[in-house]
Symmetry: C2
Subunit: 559 residues, 2 copies
């Protein structure tokens, strides 16, 4: 069967073909409680409102206290029956939701040698009519004893199956988009790995009512419900150690989900790992300005403009400057930096790698606009010409040309995933993975999810504090030439948590070479991977394998 | 004939096997005028003393004026008969110094296809008994019209023939150390290139009296004398455009030599190009601290120590900090940074490349000690334990084990030049290059030259100002992941010259990809090569070729 058109998709999923989804969302965010009640089922709305309202007071209150309250809302929901699965909805869902044995992948197209491990693909019930597609690969070592590892790619809106097929999964796809080869550094060499497409709308995941709006809190709730459902489907893994891991915007997904998991206490969570994660919006933005200058991307003219307009004429330092609230001229200077990093054709995910097809025009505008929107949220109502330009691009260039669904793809810039898109949209592959015919074309990232995503949190500190108190092991690793989420922002983030240092920063080695630097805090292992971009399991597979196995499997050995 | 032993070399060249060459040099530098008179011939001594003495007043005087006077000393010497060649000394020299036609390379061992250009190897008379080995490759395009390009590797003490065989020359050596292949991005595709081993003592260059002591001024004088002698040997190139180019410590060799050349007015100098050059000692040192932090090599602990001890508790910025004169605790903090950059096994010449054989122990100590010596010249007499340790290593580890001459090699760390060392020490190759049998083993860098080199200048600004006034075209290019001479130090250096900006900083492209950033000042083209280390013609040959041809050959075209 042909993938449906975009119009069919909208119709089938009851999505209004709104020309201004972002503006709508922004209104919702501004007039939050009232609008939310109309949009979500009551229990969700209560949960999110409470979270949001409590969160708004974070700045002036003790962060741990607020976190406690905010989290309690999730926990209470989780434990009061909101999250557990409900009756499977009709149509697609009845075909899609099946038992573990029905989800078993019998033969993966394009694979010569059958794998020496069991694997499953199907759906997990994420509550409230959301069904999240998962692809589960058992360990190649000892499935019954090895840990269960959940992997979440970021975005928001990007697919964890991309992470499977191009980063840490056992199968990688050849250039032909048809044949499959084994990745020798797959994380299922030592763990049972779940790749979860989240939230609904991402990849093959869907919402039976077509509502693909999600935010930080509702995504945590969806992910937790799906995780509970996983252990319902696969009860034999309930007693294994559980690790929640992820990348990029997974820096928000992982600690929030882990906090819910800890609070609910049903699962055997041992640790979390976050790769090139967003941990704090402001530290990520700020650090990028410094990263850009000291990596030679901006010169003395821009630096001097920043000094004048953002730093009250003082030297450009974190302490002297406020890049967000220093007025129009500062915003223009900062936007100049962001324009260079995101828009001119650099590979934002790996400064020293090529940017295939650069510059990618629309797509890059889209990602950039998303970023700018976030940075300059305070300046929305000013008459800044540069922001206006971004907004126009956002609406006209992207939304103006979507005859077919796949035109709305929001591929990450400078990353060529053509082979994976081709592979996953092959009807034989979809069939092998038990994907219902009526679901649309698979894309790396969903622009609908991304554009409608409500970013409720600004900083993950309270969640990390909570996890550390609960003795959850934490790994934060960063490829050090990534600009989307730079190592520097995460180092500042962890440093700010003010934890005791257990082992001073030192180089660590792989194959006799210095592979990065590691610093161990009481609660967090912080490690850089030298020369790696955003996707460390892809850029530096050998080094990354050493890091993750040492963390998960190493019994306190040195990196 | 067997390469001679180190003892034979010392004896033949009348070198005292001193255990403390550096201490001796340091005494000389401190008690400069008196000692210098004893060590050099009178004309040299006058020249150097005058230069040195004038230079000492640079800080308080107008730099251009001082430059004028200091340079006049060189010019006067150059024009008053000091520099022109004198009677060829006996023995080695009589065999070594020959006519151009005698210098012609008839067949280069290991090369399958004879080249489509003429090439020569022999000696140039650098005056005062110094004979510098040159290897000259004519242009593959139009030798009679193409420019003459002099290339100088740095060190001090390193060989430009290494630059020929591993960077920009037409011949590169295969791993076997025997066979030769053509480099498609050789600079002799568009120019007649002279590779000059300078000063005497480097590579196959020698001093007939065994005096291998040199400094910034005497090296400029040697180089200029050799250049004059080149045009005496090859008068047919006298009217061609001349470019003086070089790398690393060539950042000092090139502008000083160019200034002498301009002042003397005999040669047709059109421009200079400096790659990853040292331009200012203090800016190079300072910038490295920032480079290290913002590339993730040092963490918050070291940064905080720098803040406390070097920056009076204020944020770490160029403006707030004095890394050289803030006392012992600051020196310790800075030495911690330098230790990480130079000593732990990182490739200082390309942060993201491997370090073959890392850590190389002695060799790295040696280079590091050289660097430390320079940075902490003010702290020589303090009882700093860390400096003492370096000095001990310098004397005992390096000097304590030199049964054979080649044990004293000072190979650059993390660079595997084994194939080139093997090739150039093959007796058949030496014969083809017309190297006298009695000269010792060829090494990439000479520790004798390096350790005895007198660094007289601190900053090249006055020389650049002079060249700009004389309308000499200038290119400063930097691989941006080099730490030995970081792009940042050179950007700061050029910025400080306060030149008018002709073209704002912008990305430039090669093969559709962003290859770096370029900014054009009135007088200087400043350009970075993204992802390249110290040796851009080796690391990024295609990109480098575009840069150098645009500069030399481009008639003002855009990079």
């Amino acid at each position: 069967m042909e993938p449906m058109t975009f119009e069919e998709y909208l119709h089938n999923n009851k999505i209004q073909p709104s020309g201004t989804p972002v503006r709508a969302i922004e209104r919702r965010v501004t007039e939050f409680p009232k609008i939310m009640l109309l949009r979500f089922r009551l229990d969700y709305a209560l949960l999110l409102c409470a979270l949001r309202l409590h969160w708004l007071s974070v700045c002036s209150a003790d962060p741990d206290d607020v976190s406690e309250e905010a989290l309690n809302v999730i926990y209470n929901s989780a434990m009061s029956g909101v999250i557990p699965s409900r009756a499977v909805p009709p149509e697609v869902t009845q075909k899609a939701y099946r038992t573990a044995e029905e989800d078993r992948i019998q033969a993966l197209p394009g694979l010569d040698q059958p794998p020496n491990f069991r694997q499953y693909s199907g759906y997990l019930n994420a509550s409230d009519g959301k069904y999240l597609h998962y692809w589960f690969v058992e360990s190649q070592r000892n499935p019954s004893r090895d840990p269960v590892i959940l992997w979440l790619n970021g975005g928001p809106g990007c697919s964890s199956v991309d992470g499977l097929l191009s980063e840490l999964g056992p199968f990688h796809i050849r250039e032909d988009g048809k044949t499959v080869f084994y990745n020798p550094w797959s994380w299922n060499k030592f763990g049972n790995v779940i790749f979860l497409e989240s939230p609904a709308g991402v990849g093959f995941s869907y919402a039976s009512d077509g509502n693909l709006t999600a935010g930080d809190a509702s995504t945590a709730v969806q992910n937790y419900a799906a995780l509970l459902d996983f252990f319902r489907k696969f009860p034999q893994f309930r007693k294994n150690d559980l690790y929640i891991t992820g990348e990029s915007y997974g820096g928000f997904y992982v600690p929030t989900l882990a906090s819910v998991t800890v609070a609910d206490g049903k699962l055997n969570l041992k640790g979390i790992a976050v790769g090139n994660g967003l941990s704090s919006n402001s530290l990520n933005d700020e650090s990028l300005v410094f990263f850009a200058y000291y990596h030679g991307l901006i010169g003395e003219e821009v630096w001097s403009a920043l000094r004048t307009h953002c730093c009250r004429g003082m030297p450009v330092t974190r302490e002297n400057c406020d890049f967000q609230r220093s007025g129009l001229l500062c915003t223009n200077a900062v936007s100049g930096v962001f324009e260079i990093v995101w828009r001119i054709g650099l590979n934002v995910y790996n400064l020293y790698a090529e940017c295939p097809g650069a510059p990618q025009g629309n797509t890059q505008w889209a990602r950039y606009a998303t970023d700018m929107k976030h940075l300059f949220s305070h300046a929305r109502d000013t008459s800044m010409p540069i922001l206006k330009r971004y907004e126009e691009d956002r609406y006209f260039k992207i939304d103006g040309d979507h005859t077919y669904f796949h035109k709305r793809e929001l591929d990450p810039p400078c990353i060529n995933d053509t082979r994976i898109i081709k592979y996953l949209n092959d009807p034989k592959v979809r069939q092998a993975l038990h994907i219902p015919d009526r679901l649309p074309h698979w894309t790396v990232c969903s622009s609908i999810v991304s554009e409608n995503y409500v970013r409720e949190f600004n900083d993950m500190s309270p969640f990390y504090r909570r996890l550390i108190r609960s003795k959850i092991k934490i790994l934060i690793y960063n490829g050090d030439v990534d600009m989307a989420c730079s190592f520097l922002g995460d180092e500042w983030f962890v440093d700010k948590l003010n934890l005791d240092v257990e082992e001073s920063r030192r180089p660590w080695r792989s194959q006799g070479q210095i592979a990065g630097f590691v610093k161990r805090y009481n609660g967090i292992d912080l490690i850089t991977i030298k020369g790696s971009g955003h996707m460390a399991p892809k850029d530096k597979p050998v080094e990354m394998y050493k890091v993750i196995t040492t963390f998960i499997d190493g019994n306190g050995e040195r990196y």
